[in-house]
């Protein structure tokens, strides 16, 4: 089974990519692929409890939580990105693991593909 890391780096409001990144990752369960999702830079804001683009009339991001729970999808977030955007109150429904940049560097070789979205 191939392991694929989907790296999302754009904001959860103002871009479609946090939603599309999760949606694409969930699509991998159709085949012999194990997806994980990593949020870096502005995308780390996705995990804040108060982040919900639906408040602005945009597509909900919280809806992905249902599928994270259903598939038990691994979600990672870079610690330095959380600090950069002062994200301290994480929504536990994302089940995110916080990793430092150095820890992420060490982790990357385990993936067959790394896909930036």
């Amino acid at each position: 089974m191939k392991k694929v890391l989907f790296v999302i780096y754009q904001a959860p409001a103002g871009s479609i990519w946090p939603n599309e990144g999760f949606r694409t990752a969930f699509g991998m369960y159709a085949d012999d692929v194990e997806p994980e999702v990593l949020l870096i830079d502005q995308a780390a804001i996705t995990l804040a409890r108060e982040t919900e683009p639906k408040k602005l009339g945009l597509l909900s991001i919280k809806m992905v939580q249902k599928y994270i729970g259903k598939y038990d999808t691994k979600v990672l977030v870079e610690k330095e990105s959380l600090q950069k955007f002062h994200v301290t109150d994480l929504d536990e429904a994302y089940q995110a693991e916080v990793l430092s940049r150095a820890e992420l560097h060490a982790r990357l070789p385990q993936y067959d593909h790394v896909v930036f979205m």
């Binding site: 191939k2 694929v4 479609i16 599309e20 949606r23 694409t24 969930f26 699509g27 991998m28 369960y29 159709a30 085949d31 012999d32 692929v33 593909h113 790394v114 896909v115 930036f116 979205m117």
Partner: protein
């Protein structure tokens, strides 16, 4: 030389970014060397298959380039069907040979490709 299965995923819109041009150049080089090459179009990149695209005369016509490469070199082109629906593009409006597809097909391509290239502006 070992024949490789190569998949290139593109996300960025044609004519705003040049990822599609990069993808086609890589695809052509791979096909010319005898590899099995496919492009998976996601999000706004699907507009590159719209048959009524009409750039100015001196510019390249990306849908036409893709159509020629499909017909003459065997390029495979998959288009995310939900992305097409979101942008109001029907299967009748895309170039001949490009195939409406989806995430299960993308997952299969990731599982079976020897090389997977992801272009994101």
């Amino acid at each position: 030389m070992e024949k490789l299965k190569i998949t290139i995923q593109v996300m960025a819109p044609p004519y705003s970014y040049q990822d599609l041009d990069t993808a086609l150049n890589i695809a052509e080089a791979g096909l010319d060397k005898g590899h099995d090459v496919g492009i998976f179009l996601f999000a706004d990149s699907i507009l590159s298959t719209f048959s009524r695209v009409k750039p100015i005369r001196m510019d390249r016509n990306i849908p036409e380039c893709m159509k020629t490469m499909i017909a003459e070199k065997g390029l495979r082109v998959d288009i995310c069907g939900i992305c097409m629906d979101y942008r109001g593009v029907s299967p009748q409006e895309v170039i001949k040979g490009a195939k409406p597809s989806g995430l299960p097909e993308l997952a299969a391509l990731m599982a079976t490709s020897d090389r997977f290239i992801n272009l994101m502006a």
